[in-house]
């Protein structure tokens, strides 16, 4: 059972189709990355999940049930366009927003204090928001998003605006929230973070899902059958011919040979390994997996070229 499903969601804005039969499935307790180039329709989909806008057709289901207005309260949403009341004091503002999410005043205050302590920003409590830097405001926004401990957390570009140290901090917090049992969706352009923390992804391009699945499965799917092998090799004859693979490049150094080889169709890693181990001592044997960045660029540019 998926925690959240979007099925055939279509959204038409005047003049262009923002989402064209988009479906995603988010399992519970996982981190789900929503990827895609600018203007692909990610934010529109997140808004529809949040019931900010209604889809023209298609459905959103929580735990298999059609989403209702009450489902909004099971979601913590951090929009990409971040805004808070500039003239209001940070603490007062955080309490106000937390109460709008259904917390009582004492509970809101208690939880906020804990978070402020955690981020070491207690001294900001009585400052006006406009006195804070963009990154600082972002932290407040993050806290407000998670304060009511919703089952589903949605972050739209959570790392933009943070310096590397704070981006990492937020990343750790997101991972911790996952271990606490929250389901998390986030949209991002930061592919390195996708590899690091996402369990599953959906790549949206030109209003359509062009790629989806688990991160490891996708990377395997996109692998180009290239292996990196390092062998111990003393002076002598070195044979590199094989029925199982083709050598792309080889570099010999005293004591070792490093090869980049492509598997021939039908060959299995174990067969290559057996053959090599018969003649040489194997120092390392790794399969090259494409990075999410490469997959992103390849997928997006290939869909672009097919459309042109």
């Amino acid at each position: 059972m998926y925690f959240l499903e979007a099925e055939d969601v279509v959204k038409q804005f005047s003049g262009h189709l923002a989402l064209n039969k988009v479906s995603i499935q988010v399992p519970p307790g996982k981190i789900f990355g929503l990827l895609g180039p600018n203007g692909a329709g990610k934010t529109t989909l997140l808004r529809i999940i949040n019931r900010i806008t209604a889809p023209d057709s298609g459905s959103i289901r929580f735990n298999g049930l059609e989403s209702t207005p009450e489902d909004v309260f099971r979601i913590g949403y951090m929009p990409e366009e971040r805004g808070l009341y500039k003239k209001m004091k940070v603490g007062e503002q955080a309490i106000y927003l937390a109460r709008l999410k259904g917390l009582s005043y004492p509970e809101a205050k208690k939880r906020l204090m804990e978070w402020f302590d955690k981020f070491e920003i207690t001294s900001w409590w009585n400052r006006k928001l406009e006195e804070l830097s963009k990154g600082m405001q972002q932290k407040i926004q993050f806290i407000i998003t998670v304060i009511h401990k919703p089952e589903l957390l949605i972050f739209d570009e959570p790392f933009s605006g943070f310096d590397p140290v704070n981006a990492d901090r937020v990343k750790q917090e997101i991972l911790e929230l996952k271990y606490l049992g929250h389901t998390i969706i986030f949209s991002t352009h930061n592919m390195a973070s996708v590899e690091e923390i996402c369990d599953g992804i959906a790549l949206i391009d030109r209003s359509k899902v062009v790629l989806s699945g688990e991160v490891n499965e996708i990377r395997n799917r996109f692998k180009s059958n290239i292996l990196n092998v390092a062998l111990r090799w003393e002076e002598g004859i070195f044979s590199i011919d094989s029925n199982y693979y083709t050598v792309l490049s080889a570099k010999a150094r005293t004591g070792e040979v490093k090869m980049r080889i492509r598997k021939n169709p039908g060959a299995a890693n174990s067969e290559i390994l057996t053959e090599l181990s018969r003649a040489y001592e194997i120092m390392s044997f790794t399969e090259e997996l494409p990075s999410m960045n490469d997959i992103f660029i390849n997928t997006v540019s290939s869909t672009n070229s097919t459309q042109i």
């Binding site: 005047s14 808004r47 900010i52 909004v72 951090m78 929009p79 366009e81 106000y96 927003l97 109460r99």
Partner: protein, 444 residues
């Protein structure tokens, strides 16, 4: 606590706790009073230097009649006008040249000066000479006790107006009092709708340009957000009105107490106040005193005869209804635009309605039961302002009920419509929408 209530609370407290709100609320009554009295006071200030006026009286009859005042000193001079003209005289500001008997030739007196002659001086000269000439003329008729006869025949008349109540009671009414009261209510309602309506617009726009709406919308419904703001700001307005009400009654009560207190002393107190207000500029003649006293009595009666409770209730009703109606429009406008500069295009038509209402109200004062007043007090867009003018004149109950019902029905319909525009508008960034697009949003 319900979410709308939390929003109302924030909108209310945020505005009420502002220093500017406190200052405006406390100072406004004084500022209004100052606006009314400062010009009066300024004009009554006498300049320090006493100006000298030379009188060249060929007849010798008139010069001695001029008495020195705080501002002017009159000297009798035997030099000729040409002497003064040629000499370099700085001390004397004006020259009154009387060449002959004024009864026979009224043009025989002329006031000369090198500068503009102050109006006060020419008035003083006219008054003095008029009095003398009138006396002279009366004497010339040779009728004994003529002065007494004339004084006796001077009558101060004002017709007493009585309105028959439905229960057969008779009430002294005054068109004057009613129109002043109506005018005050009209201006208050008009000002409040404009000021607080645009406050709603500002607030909505602030949330939109701050981009906080997206966050808000994910925890509250757009309708709750809009209503929270509209109601919160309405409460700010009512608070201000309430405080002003208290301050005004405190000022009146304090004033009455200071001026003597007690029922019997009332009239003399008011009378005293009136003579003070007149700045002591004119000294009242003893005969007029009785008339004034009567008039004050009448006024007090009239003020008592006005049904303040009924007017108060309807004032609040129209105030709320009119505010809701226009605030809904302003909220929709605020949600549709992205910048302050874009607001004018949408506000202009709304303001045309408001200003039309104000003028219709002002013109209705002369004929509070006429067709203009009637229709404008029925149309919801103008009724809150125009009905205020008619209220002190005892409007038929059915008219009031129909008008209030229409107003609230329209306000609710507009709120519903605005909520639809608002819901889409607050999330639309980029270019300024056209009216056509806004109509499309309603259908979403």
């Amino acid at each position: 606590m319900n979410k709308t209530a939390i929003i109302i609370k924030r909108e209310y407290l945020r505005r009420v706790s502002k220093k500017s709100f406190l200052l405006v609320t406390l100072l406004m009554p004084f500022m209004v009073a100052a606006l009314a009295f400062v010009p009066l006071w300024l004009s009554s200030i006498r300049s320090d230097d006493v100006k000298t006026v030379a009188i060249m009286d060929a007849t010798g009859k008139y010069a001695s009649l001029f008495e020195d005042t705080g501002n002017f000193r009159f000297i009798n001079s035997d030099k000729s006008l040409d002497d003064y003209r040629n000499s370099d005289n700085k001390e004397i500001v004006a020259f009154l040249n009387i060449t002959g008997d004024l009864l026979q030739n009224p043009k025989a007196a002329t006031l000369y000066s090198e500068k503009q002659i102050p109006g006060e001086l020419s008035r003083l000269v006219n008054q003095t000479l008029e009095k003398v000439l009138e006396e002279e003329k009366l004497t010339s008729f040779n009728i004994p006790n003529l002065r007494e006869i004339i004084n006796e025949s001077k009558v101060n008349f004002s017709v007493q107006t009585i309105k028959w109540g439905a229960d057969g009671s008779e009430n002294t009414s005054s068109a004057m009092a009613a129109s002043i009261l109506g005018m005050i209510f009209t201006l208050i309602v008009y000002t409040f709708i404009v000021v607080y309506g645009s406050m709603v617009m500002q607030g909505v726009m602030e949330e939109k340009t701050n981009r906080i709406v997206e966050l808000m919308i994910s925890s509250v419904r757009p309708f709750d957000l809009m209503m929270g703001k509209i109601i919160g700001i309405a409460l700010v307005g009512l608070t201000q009105l309430f405080l002003w009400g208290i301050m005004t009654s405190a000022l009146i009560a304090g004033g009455t107490f200071l001026l003597g207190g007690g029922g019997a002393a009332d009239i003399s107190a008011v009378q005293q106040g009136m003579s003070m207000a007149q700045g002591g500029g004119m000294s009242m003649q003893p005969g007029v005193d009785m008339a004034v006293m009567q008039e004050v009595n009448e006024w007090l009666g009239i003020i008592h005869s006005i049904n303040f409770v009924e007017i108060g209730i309807f004032f609040i009703l129209y105030f709320i209804g009119g505010y809701l109606l226009y605030a809904a429009i302003f909220a929709a406008i605020g949600s549709a635009i992205n910048q302050q500069e874009d607001s004018n295009q949408f506000i202009a038509p709304v303001m045309v309605f408001m200003i039309f209402a104000l003028y219709a109200g002002i013109y209705s004062i002369d004929n509070p039961d006429g067709p203009l007043a009637f229709w404008c007090s029925m149309i919801p867009f103008t009724s809150p302002v125009v009905m205020m003018v008619r209220l002190p004149y005892d409007v038929p109950v059915w008219e009031l009920l129909v008008s209030v019902a229409l107003l609230f029905a329209t306000a609710m319909a507009l709120t519903w419509l605005s909520a639809k525009i608002y819901r889409v508008g607050i999330l639309m960034y980029g270019k300024k929408p056209s009216i056509k697009e806004m109509i499309k949003w309603v259908k979403y």
